[in-house]
Amino acid sequence: MLQFAQSACNLLCRCLGITFVVWFTILFVIIIVPAVLEVSLGIHRFYIRTLCRVFEWATLQMELSAKQKNRQFSKPHTKGILAKSKPLSVQENMQELRSSAHSRRSEPQFDMGDVIYFCRKGVESIMDDEVTKSFSAQELESWNLLTRSIRRFPHRGLRLTFLWGLGVLIRYGILLPLRVLLAVTGIFLFVILSTSVGFLPNSKLRFFLGEKVHLMGYRFCVKSLTAFITYHNSENRPKNGSICVANHTTPLDVIILANDRCYSLVGQVHRGLLGMIQRAMVKSSPHIWFERAEVKDRHLVAKRLCDHAADKTKQPILIFPEGTCVNNTSVMMFKKGSFEIGCTIFPVAIKYDFRFGDAYWNSSKFGLVHHLLRIMSSWGLVCSVWYLPPMNREEGEDAVQFAKRVKAALAAQAGLADLTWDGGLKRTKVKDIFKEEQQRLYSEILLRDHQTQKQEKCFEDGTPEED
């Protein structure tokens, strides 16, 4: 009996040993070596295609099972609860509300029903509002076999549940440990290599090797997240001595972009692991890290950015003008700081395919580590990056208008909604200035009507009115 247990134990140990060796060899050959040497094996296309087919099959199964149970399979409304009508201006809305049957003479200057326009807008926003939609996770049309999106898809059936269970095993048992191991290896290698490159005396060699080390580090990170990135229009890739702006969905946007070319990053100095990485980065390539106290001093920030951008040999600065993470369905207001500097702007649009995993970092819901774990335990990070042609500030255009122009081009390229809301609304209340704008628009309509009526009366009576 004891001998049996012992031999079973030996067998188990040997099996585990062999599995471990095989696994590590696969890891080394397929992932680490290509990451270091910049070679691609083409596995990712196969992976994505397979997953897409599985998701489509899953949706079909759900529709069939719903039909069998005679229940309606309703796809969740991804576009919101209200039907989208053509956006009309305040004037056009008022015109619609007021009866067109009234002749101009007897039309009241102020219609009692004008309140209905504001009332309707108010109730629309109660039922569904743009700002909230942009700060909560995107909704899926078909189930992507992740636990987190399970609530919206109640008709699952046995086959799908089995597939989901298999998915959980694969994601948490194989993919997650693999990714964590890769991330740790990558960061470790990067810190060591970057620090050693920093000791080189020759600055040209240091710059060249520094770029190579940085790119290797980012490739490791990309592989550890299983990110599949497609770069479009690479001829518009940002050049040295300029500023690159992009829409912000997650802190990992930096890794996505820096995988293609090196950027100079701008940010606060952190402590701990992140601080160590920041110090290692600075040794081999110039980045702009601010002390916490300095961030408040806008002129100092602007000056440092200007100096860096003026040097045409330095790498482009990467800035996210929204100032906060938005959920990748829309682009929020761009802060004008980076557009005041006056050098060439290279806009870059990033769009994630959220079927494979939600990349949006909802900082009020999860911390950074939780967010990273969520991404590492989903199917992957599939995204497209579009490089837009460079833009310069035109004559007679101020920073705000320039920012709006860049934002519109970016939103159009990535297919995102162009919103004028401030990203800071995630944390603060609306300023009264917006309410005053509404009041101003309405008053213009009334006063214009008032003026036209006065003029008509004037012509009627033949006497000049006193204003």
């Binding site: 409304h77 039907a83 619609e96 009241p108 101003r440 008053s443």
Partner: protein, 191 residues
């Protein structure tokens, strides 16, 4: 036939607005909606959801009030037979009337009209202009000469039917009678 998906959607919205998970809404929860705080009469719309003594709004009441905004459907004959229905023309106008008539005495006085005008126009017009607009509106609408506008007079002024909010799906919205009978069953199935 009511779309369960639509009710589910509304309940998700209710849950989202109810940030503390209490199961009912308070006026502060509505004030979190940015577009509503931008609206000049946002405060009044919030007050319309909460009757004077109550500070809590549960889900059936929430839906009942939103039901006013369903556009009048194609089966006009049915609607005409039930004029008390929430989304009839009368129902919509009553909602608008109550936005003016805050003290619920059944009449819009000059002062109440002035208050609404002040909210909608803010500092953009002078006090005299506001008064003249209010005076003119009351004169034109007041038929029986009592210096205030009753609901019937209000209805006569608003000849055109107020537009409803079209739901995204071409399904019926909700009716109060349906809610009462199906509410229990539905809450169990979604918990």
């Amino acid at each position: 036939p009511v779309s369960a998906a639509h009710l589910l959607r509304l309940h998700e919205r209710f849950d989202f607005l109810d940030k503390d998970g209490r199961g009912h809404l308070r006026p502060e929860d509505f004030e979190e909606i940015r577009e509503l705080t931008e609206n000049p009469i946002g405060g009044r719309i919030i007050a319309a959801f909460f009757p004077p003594e109550k500070e809590r709004l549960d889900f059936p009441s929430f839906v009942r009030i939103l039901a006013h905004f369903r556009p009048i459907g194609k089966n006009r004959s049915r609607d005409r037979a039930q004029p008390e229905q929430a989304n009839s023309r009368t129902g919509k106008l009553k909602f608008a009337f109550e936005l003016y008539d805050q003290d619920r005495d059944g009449k819009i006085s000059r002062e109440e009209l002035l208050q609404v005008l002040r909210a909608m126009l803010g500092l953009q017009v002078t006090e005299e202009q506001l008064r003249s607009i209010a005076e003119r509106a009351v004169q034109e609408a007041d038929i029986d000469g009592d210096g205030a506008i009753s609901f019937d007079e209000f209805k006569k002024v608003k000849k055109k039917e107020p537009q409803g909010l079209k739901p995204a799906e071409k399904t019926n919205f909700c009716h109060v009678w349906f809610l009462r009978s199906h509410w229990r069953k539905w809450t169990w199935s979604t918990r």
